[in-house]
Subunit: 147 residues, 6 copies
């Protein structure tokens, strides 16, 4: 079984790392998609896809040692929610389970044959104080690529 | 030192694998870019980026065991040679040396501060008979993304 | 004489239907353009172009019986107001009169040889209470595709 | 049951008309997609989408009288075969059966839950002499939009 | 009266210069459009828009001294002949007369209120031997941007 | 030495003119880039690129008489900050010094071998009252094209 999780990772933080570790207990492999790869140098999207890739890759090398079970792939936005699932599906290797707390991503993949699960997430800013939270919150964002 | 090599990998073959192994003797890490990621289901581009990713990933897991030194990233064409270096540069982690036998890729990166080297390549079709060849030949292709 | 009316129809409602019936008293044929066809699954644009087409088509079959006088065509946004008239003009059959209450659409077509008229519209939400209103209001929207 | 057929219709001819009539015996409704809607003024694509729409619409009004069973929709190319099925699916109302003789269209829809059937077609140029032929031939075109 | 002439200028040569001088005898001002501005580093399109701009600008400074009557503007292709006239029209200052020997450009502007004239041109390669020729030949190119 | 300054010029005003005159005392030539060339008919972007070109060209002809030292070029947005420097660099002739008060433009060009300087600017609205101001203010806009 292969999982897939998507995020902008602006930046990648401990909450993301913990979600990845958690999911790796449930699946054989995990695809981590860096969404909105063409966005950078903006207040909400400061880092390029390459910089975000570096953060994730270096952390995973340190933490997991073995990178044979995690595939990291940047994906650009298509600005067209009706194409987004097809865009991701043909860009990355096959996967079985989508891990997301983004309602739109959840809805769009629920229309396919993929299983959708909600990952836990420790928010970076209140990691010590407040404990486990849902990844990406529950806001009804209208863009998949921006989750 | 980190190397970068680009190809369409339609499909990925032993020549590509040998080039990757050769380059890993020269650099610490290698970024393998799957070019023309949006092309598929065509006579010259049969496989999706995801299918090509799978071929490369599975082969590297089998052959290298350790994937901490190789980063595989799909990249779409930008159809604009004047933007291609910037497109790749902001999409992938930093690299120092470009491995290519494509004259256009060689030229475009020679205008930057990157070092450009030519990798050896065993062509798939005459792998046993003819021995070592240059990767991607020396044809003056006019598109970087199609090399 | 052929008329043309444009809307996003998110969703198609009785006000739209009444405007279409009204215009069909003035022209021989009417082209109904479903604007922003690539937008869907958003708070302000929940339906795909196909879903909107279905709503309009089914309603017109029920209400008009005869569909030989109404042509429904989805059109994507071009995000470039200076190209919008040309985009619509080459996408749909020839028309003589543009029906719109959107000031920008009105302005852009007033620069051409088309006649521009304002259609009446019963707003859905206050259909019973407030009577006839102008279609799309008079807000100075800055995008034709979003009217 | 609703059918779907796709063509560039450069131009629309009797072979296309006969195929549409034939299919209407098999399905309740038929969606006719004018592919490559953004192509015009080229040797192989002389007509705009609007001109092609007009040809088809006028012929169907003359021949069928009743247009409640045929839906004509222009669709632009996406230049990305891996997105084409999703592009068409979200642009037009739901359909059950794809009628095509284009091997790529056939292949791409065979990966979905749609039924794929081959329509008969009388080729325009040898309509009298050679009798019934397959629509669009059997050439392995590499672009769906160009069939 | 303001004229407009379009070319790719790969490279700019004496034939182009002579055409410009000739046209400046007929009009008050001339807009020179560098077409296909996004094409470069290709066998048929070796130079970037910036390099082509430099060639033209430097030659005109040398030859005309006064640049108040000539406006040089790069324009990217829109890959959509039905939008091309609108693309150029909103990108550059107003003009009255289009100078072109490209049949498609001639046709597309003949549908507008612009006057279309054919400029003379001395071909670079046989400038001395064969005398005056038509600019851009009379080949029926299917792309405006590539003339 | 050649300078480059970028603005949307919606509209071009005396502050812009004064900045251009000031810079022409520091450099041999100046490239003036009309950014967001594809934006028009919007509240914040009322004028087409062509209309803005006309304003600037006519003013410079009146004020400078000699146009051999100023090059005006419209440039469309690329909606991708990581490509913006490459987009501008290959579109216009070579330049040495970037004049900007936009922090993002300043940052992006500081990563290249260009020198970045801040131009003075008299704001139009308080030209008489408040004296010299910085061009484009100091707001941290997240889009280069919108400065």
């Amino acid at each position: 079984m292969r999982g897939m999780i998507v995020g902008r990772f602006q930046p990648f933080h401990n909450g993301h790392l913990n979600a990845i570790k958690y999911i790796l207990n449930e699946v054989d492999d995990l695809i981590v998609i860096i969404a909105a790869s063409q966005q950078s140098h903006q207040p909400d999207n400061p880092f390029t896809a390459g910089e975000r890739y570096d953060m994730i890759h270096n952390t995973l090398v340190d933490e997991l040692k073995d990178l044979t079970r995690v595939i990291v792939i940047p994906a650009n936005d298509v600005k067209d929610n009706g194409l987004w699932v097809a865009h991701i599906t043909r860009l990355v290797p096959k996967f079985d389970i989508v891990y997301t707390n983004n309602p739109l991503t959840e809805h769009l993949f629920s229309l396919t044959d993929k299983e959708v699960r909600r990952p836990p997430l420790y928010e970076r800013e209140d990691y010590n104080a407040k404990g486990q939270k849902r990844m990406e919150g529950t806001s009804s964002k209208s863009s998949c690529g921006s989750d």
